[in-house]
């Protein structure tokens, strides 16, 4: 046993080879020194290139994620919430208006459910399991609404009971779940924007170190050989420098559009979306107030309209976030429609408070120009237009931001290879002089 081990040991480490390798990479001799420097430079440049490539790729991926996945899902969930809430408001108002639903009410409800199902289907692809609950509950909701309608058509009071059960399901289960999804989605989007806009410290340090290495090597060689330029090393330095400048320019140029696109998505998810929801809630409170079924009061209505308001409310935030004149104009239009709706609502309350119930209902639900229904419709449409504008602007800005990063990963990779080859060849040129 002992002999075998010794035999193996002797054979695996031949003394001559070890000695030879030591002599090739001997720091005390010039060739050895150059060999070590060459390996360090090539490895350093390749490492910097890899880190840079990874960082550039991550950035491009994050932006693609924002443009093709996170923002569309964010907008989808906003649409989902709005269409679900609108469906519920529409049905409640429809029951209020009389025994048989008007064609407009029916069409609006159908449109809402259709849009909700489409948004759910699209969100399902993107969000996976998170929307399972909503997907399961939506048919239960529509089932209850249809039962409510069928009973209502027969003049049975249990129809209103089904409407209440449906509304309860929507307001206390489905909508809170959707809001939760919306919150999660918005915070994911914010995280992605943060990643896309952060400074790639590791890549910068690696590039800086390899550039410093290349320059120090050239100074060292200049001192030893008094030759001014080494083409290989100069090319390597230039490649690293070009990479750094490219990165910096792409970064600087895409930062503006990226920030703008962030503002557009924030405007949708944090300002215009909530404004839409506040408006819908106000309209629901108005309907419930007329039906006198709830304990909600005028204070609740005013709180919702305040949440929407141009001053200190969601529309103020939307105005701040808008990056162009069209965006700001659309917000102003929505604000104007908001105050028209408040005025129309006050008319309804005034009639109702002075015991003119039938006139109050008429002022609330009729299709006349001055009715609260018309005013609400205009507010709703103004908000939808503003959201569509922001979404369109988002698309343009994120495309511009991504445009600046086009070719960055491939460029960084190629430049790293050029730098590595340059460094290897440059040092080898000197090394050859010792042969």
């Amino acid at each position: 046993m002992t002999r075998t081990r010794q035999a193996i040991g002797t054979r695996s480490v031949p003394p001559g080879e070890v000695l030879g390798r030591v002599s090739r990479f001997d720091w005390d001799t010039m060739p050895g020194k150059l060999r070590i420097v060459r390996i360090l430079l090539v490895l350093g440049v390749l490492l910097a290139g890899t880190v840079g490539l990874y960082a550039a790729n991550a950035r491009v991926d994050t932006m693609r994620d924002i443009a093709e996945h996170l923002e569309p899902l964010n907008a989808n969930v906003t649409t989902l919430y709005r269409s679900l809430a609108d469906a519920d408001t529409t049905v409640a108002a429809g029951f209020l208006s009389g025994r048989a639903e008007s064609r407009e009410v029916r069409a609006r409800y159908d449109g809402d459910v259709d849009l909700a199902v489409t948004s759910l289907a699209q969100a399902g692809v993107q969000a996976g399991g998170e929307i399972t609950y909503i997907t399961k509950q939506l048919p239960v909701y529509t089932g209850l609404v249809e039962r409510a309608r069928a009973n209502n058509r027969q003049g049975l009071a249990v129809g209103v009971a089904y409407l209440r059960l449906a509304s309860d399901l929507m307001q206390n289960q489905i909508l809170p779940q959707t809001a939760e999804l919306q919150r999660r989605q918005a915070s994911r989007l914010d995280d992605a924007y943060q990643r896309a806009g952060s400074v790639p410290v590791v890549a910068l340090v690696a590039c800086g170190l390899s550039l410093a290495g290349l320059i120090l090597t050239q100074i060292f060689l200049f001192q030893r050989t008094h030759r001014v330029a080494n083409p290989g090393l100069v090319a390597a330095s230039a490649a690293v420098l070009i990479g750094l400048v490219w990165w910096a320019v792409a970064e600087a140029a895409s930062a503006g559009p990226l920030t703008n696109s962030h503002h557009h998505s924030q405007s949708v998810s944090e300002a215009l979306g909530p404004a839409q929801i506040a408006a819908l809630q106000a309209r629901t409170i108005e309907s419930l107030g007329l039906a006198r079924t709830g304990t909600t009061t005028e204070l609740d209505f005013n709180a919702r309209m305040q949440r929407l308001a141009r001053h200190g409310g969601a529309l103020a935030a939307a105005r701040e976030l808008a990056t162009d004149q069209t965006g700001r104009d659309l917000v102003e239009v929505a604000a104007k429609e908001g105050s028209s709706y408040s005025t129309a609502h006050n008319k309804v309350r005034q009639l109702d408070d002075s015991a003119q119930y039938a006139a109050a209902i008429e002022a609330a639900v009729s299709t006349q120009e001055t009715s609260a229904a018309t005013a609400f419709d205009r507010l709703d449409k103004a908000l939808i237009r503003a959201i569509e504008h922001e979404r369109g602007a988002f698309g343009k800005d994120i495309d511009r931001a991504r445009g600046w990063l086009t070719g960055l990963p491939i460029g960084i990779g190629t430049l790293a290879l050029i730098a590595a080859v340059g460094a290897a060849l440059g040092v080898r040129q000197r090394l050859d002089e010792y042969r």
């Binding site: 039962r147 049975l156 249990v158 009971a161 059960l165 079924t293």
Partner: protein
Amino acid sequence: MTTRFVLACGALAAIVLATTASDQWPDHQAPHPMTAGPGPTAAARPAAGRSSGQALAKPDCNPQNLRASLRPQGPLPVPGQMPVGSTMAGIARRGYLIVGVNRDAQGFSFRDENLRLQGFEVDIVRDIAEAIFGDRERVVFRQLSIADRLKIAKSGEVDLVVATATITCKRREEVDFSAAYFETGQRVLVNRGSGFTDLASLTGHPICAPRGSTGLETIQAATLKLIPVSASATTDCLALLQLGKVDAVCTNDALLAHMIAQDPRTEIVGPQLSHESYGVAISKNTPDLGRFVNAVLERRAQDGRWRASYERWLTLLGPPPSPPTPQYQD
């Protein structure tokens, strides 16, 4: 010296006013439902309320004296000429009566095809409006949930609550009730052919009653192991029964009869579980209005309006019995 004397007299007068204000609250102004909030009248009322509350919610409330309500004082005043300083005069000045009704009680208060509120209880409300204004239409209705109705009656947000409210000792601690205007009792509704025969056969099964109702108290208090399910309105229980979420509904038989009318595949089983009377709930701060309401109720029981209203809205329950005999206290 003189100032001190004036101050002392003023204080004495204030005390006298506060203690006697219980029966005739001067310059009554019911807060508007939309603007109800803390105000000078709201702050002043609890003191007066307490004094009358002590007089009425006697600790010895029992099934015998449960229905005793404030005795009407003399004949009803001429419509449009309410006694100066009375609650009714305040209502007349406002121009309309504010009444809380049950938001869905078929036969009692419900909306007809033209969205007009109709029913046995709505007739009572319109008779009271007629007695005050000489105009049956001067009413603003607020539809209340079963759970909120007594809280809102107590708060004085509305003048009256006529909302299928059973008179109980516990509730009488919070509000005054008029004399009984309808007598009923709790029973159990199940799906036809479900095999349930009474409350006992429903052991271990979900059974529905509206939140804040005496029906819910019955099934919660039952020694049987029932699974109480509360709904926000009586008719919601029928929907839940149809959806198979509950196996039975427990409420007053008058309301159950209207459920059967909407769904003939249900039936009432078992004996009557309680004997109950509906009364108009009125804030303890307005006893003069309570006496006035009792006078209206007594008159409509005598002149046949009670019977006519019963025949119009409650035919499902069979031929009308005689109106409940009022019980009074002073």
